[in-house]
């Protein structure tokens, strides 16, 4: 088993090696993909399934698709969504037919909103937010889950192809609602192949791998009927919480930055972030900092610093004890504020376009 590729050796990533082993993932190798994006180059994208099939499509300009779903609840998205969009955008720019489904059905059944409310929220915020993160709005195909009878029909059929114990083995538990949500997601993931049999790639956070496994299991069982090609997947690490725990989560709001985030508290949150700094300034100057343990550095790496040379410089200056945590936090604050301003501007623009997007019309 190869070690996780992580050019800056983040210790935050340690668990990911185990994940790769226990779930039988492929280690992600950015050299397979031309002009790999920032998170691919830096080891934030760390694993996948059947990646060569997609690399071949890109190399040979063969048709393939990339797909993700939007859960239209709340009025924020998070950095995990941002990374999904970055990978989606990468594949879109390299020839993928790009699908985004709005999981309004799932939202309505789990989050106490009506289908109408879920759709409204999607149109007013979530879809514009995804566009604001850089997708080509003209090349992206959208649909609402609740309108897509083909997906619902597949979900129905797929439910018969798994046993309760198999479901439990994948998900750990098996509530009826969870089962129904999961098989519907499998329908979504395979939907583009109802129109055209082709490889497809699903960019997800690693916590979503159970859905990918379920989809691949079911796909194998309905292959003789549908001829589907197994889906590929590509996994990114979590954006860590500012307090140092593995995943940023709004359950700890003081350690979580959402998109958009109130600009007044943005820098306050960053100021309290866990760094790789030493106990004293003296020690820091002598031994240097530990960027591998630093959430600020991880934010630079994953989200805020575009140029690899610049990121390298920060890394080296920190290690050399030249750069203080205070300076880094100040820089992070500036970059994050600029990012949010930019996001908000693009979001407002995207909101104006939302009615012109390519929504699949169902009869």
């Amino acid at each position: 088993m190869n070690k996780v590729i992580d050019p800056w050796g983040s210790e935050l990533a340690e668990d990911y090696g185990k994940i790769i082993k226990s779930f039988g993932l492929e280690v992600f190798n950015s050299s397979m993909f031309p002009n790999a994006n920032r998170i691919m180059r830096r080891g934030t994208v760390f694993a996948g399934r059947d990646l060569k099939r997609i690399a071949d499509c890109i190399a040979n300009k063969k048709p393939f698709y990339a797909l993700t779903g939007i859960m239209p609840t709340g009025d924020k998205i998070h950095f995990g969504n941002k990374m999904v969009v970055e990978n989606l955008k990468y594949f879109q720019e390299h020839g993928a037919q790009t699908y985004i489904l709005i999981a309004d059905l799932e939202a309505a059944s789990t989050r106490g909103v009506t289908l109408e409310q879920a759709r409204e929220r999607a149109m007013e915020f979530h879809i514009p937010a995804y566009i604001a993160l850089g997708l080509d709005s003209k090349k992206t195909i959208f649909y609402f889950q609740s309108e897509n009878k083909d997906v619902m029909h597949m979900a129905y059929e797929f439910a018969k192809r798994i046993t309760l114990n198999e479901f439990k083995a994948i998900y750990g538990s098996a509530d009826p609602g969870r089962i129904m949500g999961a098989v519907t997601q499998v329908g979504d993931v395979l939907y583009p192949q109802l129109k055209q049999i082709m490889p497809g790639i699903i960019p997800v956070g690693i916590d979503q791998d159970p859905h990918i496994r379920l989809a691949r299991d079911i796909l194998a069982r309905v292959k003789s009927k549908y001829g589907f090609i197994p889906i590929s997947s590509i996994y990114h690490k979590f954006t860590p919480s500012l307090d140092g725990s593995i995943k940023m989560s709004k359950s700890r709001p003081e350690s979580c930055i959402e998109l958009p985030e109130n600009e007044d508290i943005l820098c306050k949150k960053i100021k309290r972030a866990k760094t790789g700094g030493r106990d004293t300034v003296e020690e820091q100057k002598q031994k240097g900092g530990e960027p591998e343990k630093c959430i600020i550095f991880e934010m630079f790496k994953q989200h805020l610093v575009g140029k690899d040379t610049e990121l390298n410089q920060i890394y080296n200056d920190c290690k050399a004890g030249v750069l203080t945590c205070g300076e880094n936090k100040k820089k992070a604050c500036e970059l994050m504020t600029k990012f949010m301003e930019d996001f908000n501007k693009k979001l407002e623009n995207a909101k104006k376009q939302v009615n012109k997007l390519n929504f699949i019309k169902f009869r």
Copy 2:
């Protein structure tokens, strides 16, 4: 607990008393329903839930609905379907809005047919067969499950309202496909109330009671959102197998008469049926027969003899030892042959009307 009402005291019905107790059913009382039909009068209809609510609708001419589903697989129906239609017809004639849904989604996912094949079979046989059994084709509303997004959306929502353990408690097991089928059925059962809140009655064989219980449980949990009125149900006993076991089943084809049945073998099957006859003709003349144990008598009672006075006569003559089993079988053969001829004729007529039926058109 009242004894099961069964004017001819069939011993075949013994288990039904236990069922009433263990599932908390109401004993069916035909005097609640004006002009009770044959199977209601004779105790073949033996139990229900919330029957008074329906009786009140009939008495006060208030709106209510009656609903059943057709599983469009195979090229036969059975006597259980016939009894469902008889009760449906009764409620239709007493003011019920009558719904029949075609469970094409269920058929496609469980029986290895495509949705298109399931629909074709429904149109070519099952729907005409139900009409042939006496429904008013102009007053019956049909829909295809796979087209009804409202039902699928409710199914999705309802799945979140039950736990796996609750499901297991009702059904004994919980396969993903079974769960999905069951919550979809609940959606079907409540669908008429999406348009108009009103009482509804579902005529079923007693083996279908788990679906009714699930529907009533879920309904109580979504009451604040939808305002649904609890559904009522009405249960008929099984038509026993010709060999005397409790339920006629095509898994024992030699003891099973389907609709339509090959007229050549109809009388052969009847000839081999279990009766309540004594070991010798002598004994029969002395002690009389035991119609309570006789499948032929049960067929007369449930399906073949319309007039209660005539049935009484048969019962009394058998008990008196005047009537032999051979004579009864001959009569059963004649009546069954006539019934099949009549059914086939009506079936051919109904096939011609099938395109003029009231199918709900979904956008």
